[in-house]
Amino acid sequence: MRVSPKFTQALAVLLLGSATLLTLAVLFFVIAFVLVKGLPGVTWDFLTTAPKEMGKEGGIFPTLVGTILLPLLAIGIAVPLGVGTAIYLTEYTRENRMTRALRFGTDCLAGIPSIIFGLFGFIFFVVMLKMGWCLLSGALTLAIMVLPTIIRTSEEAIRSVPNAYREVSFSLGATRWETVIKVILPNALPGIVTGMVLGVGRSIGETAAVIFTAGSSLRMPLTVFDSVRTMSVHFYILAREGISNEKAYATASVLIISVLLINLVAYTMMHRFISKRAK
């Protein structure tokens, strides 16, 4: 018996619809679960005071600062390098064995578990360069970790800028560099920002690589050579060592809300930029 097209159509809508619904439900459940357990513990004091007794009491202020500083520094290192590499690969070289090898290499790097980067950072920055556990060791390690993502997303963004724009720019007498600055980067910006947001997200959520390189000191970092603890690490330690489940969930709630806020701010800024350019 032949199934009628109407029936398969209805079935497809049903299946795809339920897949979407299920995904959203899981996502919503996870976030709601953490927020319900954690939000009651999030108070102004919790956000602005230092932890006491390893985090059993008190707040998370130093880890909040660490969570802001570490990814910021990591992205600050990774973006110039990554975007520069992407520009070089797409605009200044023709497709050849070297660019293919580089691309393959970055793809492989993107798939390496973060703990490996952590171990590398520990051996190279912390021990060999004698930098110790500190903000800078952590940021450099995270920068290496998110570099492949930033290179690939920037490359895709740059590649998707229509060739006609390059031609026009060259035909008006612009050099390659002027074309990159005035035409390519502004048009590739949305994609580059997406890569940055992904990189920040990965850095904020990272624990293994951070513990190995930035340490887990609960003191307030004053220079880049001080050890820091991020909220993710704090959460991990609170839960793992059974210090305080209540504080752990409160930390997790703050973490989730910060990630949401970062995405929100990045995308609104981007949209404002785009609509300002071509209204």
């Binding site: 023709r94 229509p162 006609a164 724009y165 031609e167 026009v168 720019s169 060259f170 035909s171 008006l172 007498g173 612009a174 050099t175 002027e178 005035k182 035409v183 048009n187 350019r277 071509a278 209204k279």
Partner: protein, 251 residues
Amino acid sequence: MSTVIRVENLDLFYGDFHALKKVPMEVLARHITALIGPSGCGKSTLLRTLNRMNDLVPGVKITGSILFDGKEIYGLGIDVCTLRKRIGMVFQRPNPFPLSVYDNVAFGLRVDGRSSRRQIEDIVEQSLKRAWLWEPLKDRLNDSALSLPLDQQQRLCIARLLAVEPEVILMDEPCSALDPISTSKIEELMLELKKDYTIVIVTHNMQQAARISDYSGYMLLGEMIEFDATDKIFTNPREGRTQDYISGRYG
């Protein structure tokens, strides 16, 4: 009448493909020179060789001579960017940047970086006037160029080019994306621009070549079959092959 560009014995290869074969051409100042011929005959390639846009194509090899203003454009000591400012180009599809009308016209000046804000304002206004866009667009300078109708977009591209004050304007089938009314507007504009600029146009539209050009070159399979005054080409061509093409008997 002075010769602005003189092409002699020009050979061009894309890899193994011989795209231009010993091509000669002469472009006279303040005249319109048209290149006609069937698709793939090399007319666009020839045009793009004149402002060295073909440099961007991988595997291209060029021999022969192109003199612009008495200097070999593929010679040593030629700055490609300066050359392209002097020999500008209008493309087949209108291709404004996704910027405002004003920013599009100001683009070349800002890249150059030598003009003050005030000067840029003046040049933008003048350029839009020359492209007959000032009246329709003077109150819409901040609108996106992409919101304009196609013929205005193409004239905006011409204005953007005029702003960098080129001497020669190369046009690569500038009307092929436009309807007949828009086409006639662009043609009128070209006849006006001819008073101050030297124009070379590639067109697949023979009537267009006959209407606006002073000199025409008929190209076929990478060769310049015949190059002469447009009247002569269209009424009394020397070559049988040209006759076949313009009378529609090409096969």
